[in-house]
Amino acid sequence: MPLHVNLYHEIQHQELARRRDPLRLGMIGLAVIAAGFVAYYCVVLERSHLVGMQYEQLQDEFSRLDPKAKAAKERQDELNDEITASQTMMQNVDGRFYWAPVLDQILKSVPRNVQLTHVGAMSGPSGATNTLSISGISSAIEPRKEAEALRTALAARLATKFKGVTATFKNLEDSEEFVMLDGRRLATATFTIEFQLQPKDPGDAPAAAPARKPKLVADE
């Protein structure tokens, strides 16, 4: 085997030592890490920039919408006030008690042998009980029965149009006077009947006007 002498031994050794220099390796490692940090910084910076732009856009949008929203709120308050006032007014109008239908029922209920001397009607507050009072003279063989018939008949008629109808005699007295009706002499009784009634619905519409005339004692 021939003797082999490596004359480059020293140079190769130095080259190897240079390549394995810890400082050099450390610098390369640091450079890689630094590059990573820079790259990460760039990513974060870009992301932050995008978020910042989005925020600015949203702020611009809000600054455009905010005055409109405030104006809209004021307008909404105005409209709500007007709508509330309108609804209150509508309730007031619809909640009124109409007396024409009551007068119509009186007209239809009074028989020819009963004469009214007074009709009084009084409205309570909206939705409350209303009072109707009728006074008159009934003439018949049994005038008290005639007055009772009027009370029940009128109460029944009113009950078809109103709720909570009650009818009570406040006064029912035999009279000493007699009247002539259809050629017969009939006894008389004076009476006062009070009715309590409530509207069935707030929007009860008034009925048609009375069609015929009741007999009042002054008609005689």
Partner: protein, 182 residues
């Protein structure tokens, strides 16, 4: 491999430099950027609900604008039925004309009281309408018309009495309330 004294010094210095660089990197570069991003994110989280609320408010008002005209027109129409001027000047003649148009010639109207109504911009007046000579049927028709034609008028009391002076007629008194502009 044994490190030389000089190399140990260099490594130590390098480590110190690295620590300083890392500190600067996180404190002066990455920190402010991340802080800015966080602030922006918080701002976005806060402003999005505000934008949503603003849009909702605008759409609510727009919806109300479409519903309101009917209600407002109703109120305005009612207001338009109220004549201008003092009610004492126009209400009694109005009632006289009304009952005349229903065949009731004699009509006297007096104001009983005046009070503010619950409705802002309105006041409630109480009147008594005296009809000394009425027939029952025309009176019933007139009351029916009055209740139908005058939505701001409420009849609170009706009194009809037979009169002995004239057998044909009765004496009626109505107590009514009206709403007028205050």
């Amino acid at each position: 491999m044994k490190l030389e004294q000089e190399q140990i010094k260099k490594i130590f210095l390098s480590v110190l430099l690295l620590i300083a660089l890392l500190y600067c990197y996180f404190t002066f570069l990455l920190g402010p950027v991340q802080q800015g991003e966080k602030t922006a994110n918080n701002g976005i989280a806060a402003v999005i609900p505000q934008i949503t609320d603003a849009k909702k408010q605008i759409s609510r008002t727009a919806a109300l604008e479409t519903q309101a005209p009917d209600a407002i027109a109703f109120l305005n129409n009612l207001k338009d039925t109220i004549p201008d001027g003092e009610p004492i000047a126009w209400f009694p003649p109005k009632m006289s004309d009304f009952f005349k148009s229903h065949g009731i010639e004699k009509c006297t109207t007096h104001m009983l009281s005046e009070a503010d109504d619950a409705m802002p911009g309105f006041k409630k007046l109480v009147w008594t309408i005296d009809l000394p000579k009425v027939d029952f049927v025309p009176l019933g028709i007139a009351i029916s018309s009055l209740e139908n034609e005058e939505p701001l008028l409420t009849i609170v009391n009706v009194s009809i009495d037979a009169t002995r002076e004239d057998a044909q007629y009765q004496h009626a008194t109505l107590t009514v309330t009206t709403l007028v502009k205050s």
